[in-house]
Symmetry: C2
Subunit: 150 residues, 2 copies
DNA sequence: ATTCGGGGTTCCCTGAAGGAACTCATGCTG
DNA sequence: CAGCATGAGTTCCTTCAGGGAACCCCGAAT
């Protein structure tokens, strides 16, 4: 085994990286999210090698992030988000906000997000699931949980 | 150029991946966040190759995610989060929540997060920066922004 | 003067990404 | 019906990045 596998680590971040951490995977997830669901569409959009795209799509289907849906009598498939995959998109939204804020430069953000509930252009704001107040990196203590290593 | 560079793409997710998307980088960020700030500590914790750790630390310092602080008369450094880096940790918190929810299994989450403001064990909840309602993958429309490609 | 320990640097080897050509099954066109 | 087009992979080769281990440098302690 050359490239280290993260999935065996006792860490939810490492395990998540084992699902989505390989090169290209987050961008493939983004494409499927915004409606580019077919092999050729994704390949053309990203300019990714066909071999690597095949590997990534299979891995994400195996992991339950995508499901394959036939759309033709021939064996032709579209990739769609599962519930597991839909929740993973929240990671992309946070990454997009950070990139908008720190890397977009004077041109401004390349895409905007309009929130259905209020109709406003907005970004995602991390809040505490208990009290609803802001929850940023400095606002938490990290404690060992039930699944901690011995 | 073999490995494709994402930084030139007109996409904040791709640009963010150019900063933090290489293998090991998110785990290095996690270590610095939780207080493992020295080369030897991080190397021992992750089992990463020293060569790759050197490359990643330099890259993250160059990108303004970490700053190098001397802690000795000798040239010894600790790595600390900048404001830019601190905000990037929010991505880790979202990844941790997803991993806790979908990958932790029966043992439960390996770590817990206690929110300072309310003192409760909690997780991070993505909400709209405008109206405060939940903001998940299906709750937004994606529109071209001012920095969109031609 | 010698050892130690932190923080790298150098080396080689293997495996993964890039790139382009090839395959295969089906549907359309003439 | 023959021939071409199309979507989705598959195969093959080359190049580069990660793993692993040894080596280096430099100030401090003994």
């Amino acid at each position: 085994m050359q490239r280290t596998q993260f999935g065996d680590m006792t860490c939810s971040i490492a395990r998540t990286l084992d699902v989505i951490g390989e090169p290209w995977s987050p961008l493939i997830l983004r494409d499927v999210w915004v409606g580019l669901t077919r092999f050729e569409q994704i390949q053309a959009d990203l300019g990714i090698s066909r071999k690597v795209l095949t590997e990534r799509l299979n891995h994400l289907v195996d992991q339950g992030v995508f499901e394959r849906r036939p759309y033709d009598a021939r064996p032709r498939f579209e990739y769609h988000l599962t519930e597991k995959g839909t929740e993973l998109v929240e990671m992309l939204m946070v990454m997009a906000r950070w990139g908008d804020r720190w890397l977009a430069g004077s041109a401004g953000p390349p895409v905007l997000y309009r929130h259905h509930a209020c109709g406003e252009i907005a970004s995602v704001d991390p809040r505490c699931s208990r009290c609803g107040d802001p929850m940023h990196a400095d606002d938490v203590d990290v404690l060992p949980g039930p699944g901690a290593a011995t």
